[in-house]
Amino acid sequence: MSFDPVRVRAEFPIFSRKIRGKEIAYLDSAATSQKPAAVIDAMDAFYREHNSNVHRGAYVLSEEATAMFEETRGKVAKFIGAPSGDGIVYVRNTTEAINLVACAWGRKYLKAGDEILLTEMEHHSNFVPWHQLVKDKGLVLRHIPITDEGRLDLAALDRVLTKKTRLVSICHASNVLGTINPVAEITAAAHRAGALCLVDGAQAVPHMRVDVAAIGCDFYAFSAHKMCGPTGIGVLWARPELLKDMDPFMVGGETIVEVHLDHSTFRDPPHRYEPGTPAIAEVAGLEAAIAWLEKTGIDAVHAHEASVTAYALKRLLEIPRLTFYGPRTGPRGGVACFTLDDLHPHDLATCLDQDNVCIRAGHHCAQPLMRRLGVVATARASFYVYTLPSEIDRLIESLNRAREFFGCR
């Protein structure tokens, strides 16, 4: 079955909505994706037909909910190339996944003088949890710099990856530059140096085939809401051997074997890390999102995005006085960051909104990268499986109208 973008788009109910009498050109999928009817309906059906708490009920509803909840671990594992569901921990989002590693692994194993290696292009979610740990533990943070084109400067790796590096934590794809990082290569280097490797896959899993076994990494994090799934659920995959020995993070019901008045003992992973009633309906939504992406074909999704992105880059670069950030060639993700003349991205975004062209303006939770690029904020258009070339045309027209309105040269 060939990929038909118009038919795919028709599966997303939100695009039948009109604002100011016009369709929405939603170019902010890097912030969160829209959801196909199949995902919305799956959660709906859960609440209407199967809703109950998991794990403890000896009745049909609870058995159904539990089976769905646990079997989805295996489906998630398969989707990202992990050997089994044992390494799948349900979390709220990518941010929580990284906090979990920082606390449950980092607090247990790291000591003063140990080094953590990040990159200059990380999302705040892959900076701030480490900042906390660095402060508490006396660790040292290092960063892989980026080239002017917006790729990791791997020539610098020898300098920043040292014998003291205990963890390398990097994004698989940048939410600003669109760069896709060579995570397998970096993982191999990390392992040679005796360090573990965490990959922040928030911008990768929705858009391309991910294979954690092939990457070889130790931790992999992503969020459902950016991959056609619901809010409130994300995944930390970790090697089961690592999960087994890490400390508990948040604790409570579900995480324990025995509770006494003054102490408790903990269950095996993954449940050890899933405190309290989990996001059950959201797991049903995640399952549906994965099924939908598999049905649509993740390679087809990637190819479609690549062609839309190539078209967008071509059209954007024709605009006078537009500064573009990130690689212009080679495989890259579907985000296009830019500034226009001396127009502030906020003013631009507000102008575009008048035409229902939804872009993001700001630092994109990547202030350190913004500083490296010498800006405070940029405009960002980002694309997904449902993006049509006609939406790129609307973006360009709207940018031109904004230039006129603000009297750009």
Partner: protein, 142 residues
């Protein structure tokens, strides 16, 4: 709401030619602030004399709204008793929350042009940045 009602002529004019940009060599008040949503920054300098704002300057990077708001604010404040400036700041914030009556906002003069920002909720913080910096900076001063 149309773009024209947001970016009124007076706003565009102040954005393109902001008043009182720069620094004061030995300011009595110097305060920097940023907007966590977009990273916009402002640095505000005041020199005070006998409870009056003898001079006021600002620097910053930001959008048309935040720059025009800062420019208009400094224009209004120059020479004003600090207490009056604080009252204006309260009135301005009230206006941006939609809680001010029109007879209250009249003394704000050209700043009333910013009332349209209210219809663009994420932009309200842009309009308020300079004013928040002012309030933070003069906290505790008389």
């Amino acid at each position: 709401m149309s773009l024209e009602s947001l970016y009124q002529e007076i706003i565009m004019e102040h954005f393109k030619a902001p008043r009182n940009r720069g620094e004061i060599t030995t300011p009595d008040v110097s305060i920097s602030m940023n907007n966590p949503f977009c990273g916009d920054e402002i640095t505000l300098h005041l020199s005070l004399q006998n409870g009056r704002i003898a001079d006021v300057k600002f620097r910053g990077r930001g959008c048309a709204i935040s720059q025009a708001s800062a420019s208009l604010m400094t224009e209004l404040f120059k020479g004003l008793p600090l207490a009056n400036a604080s009252t204006f700041a309260s009135t301005f914030k009230k206006m941006m929350r939609g809680e001010a009556k029109s007879n209250e906002t009249e003394p704000l003069g050209d700043l009333v042009a910013l009332e349209g920002v209210r219809k663009f909720p994420v932009r309200v913080k842009c309009a308020l940045l300079a004013w928040s910096a002012f309030e933070e900076g003069v906290k505790g001063k008389k």
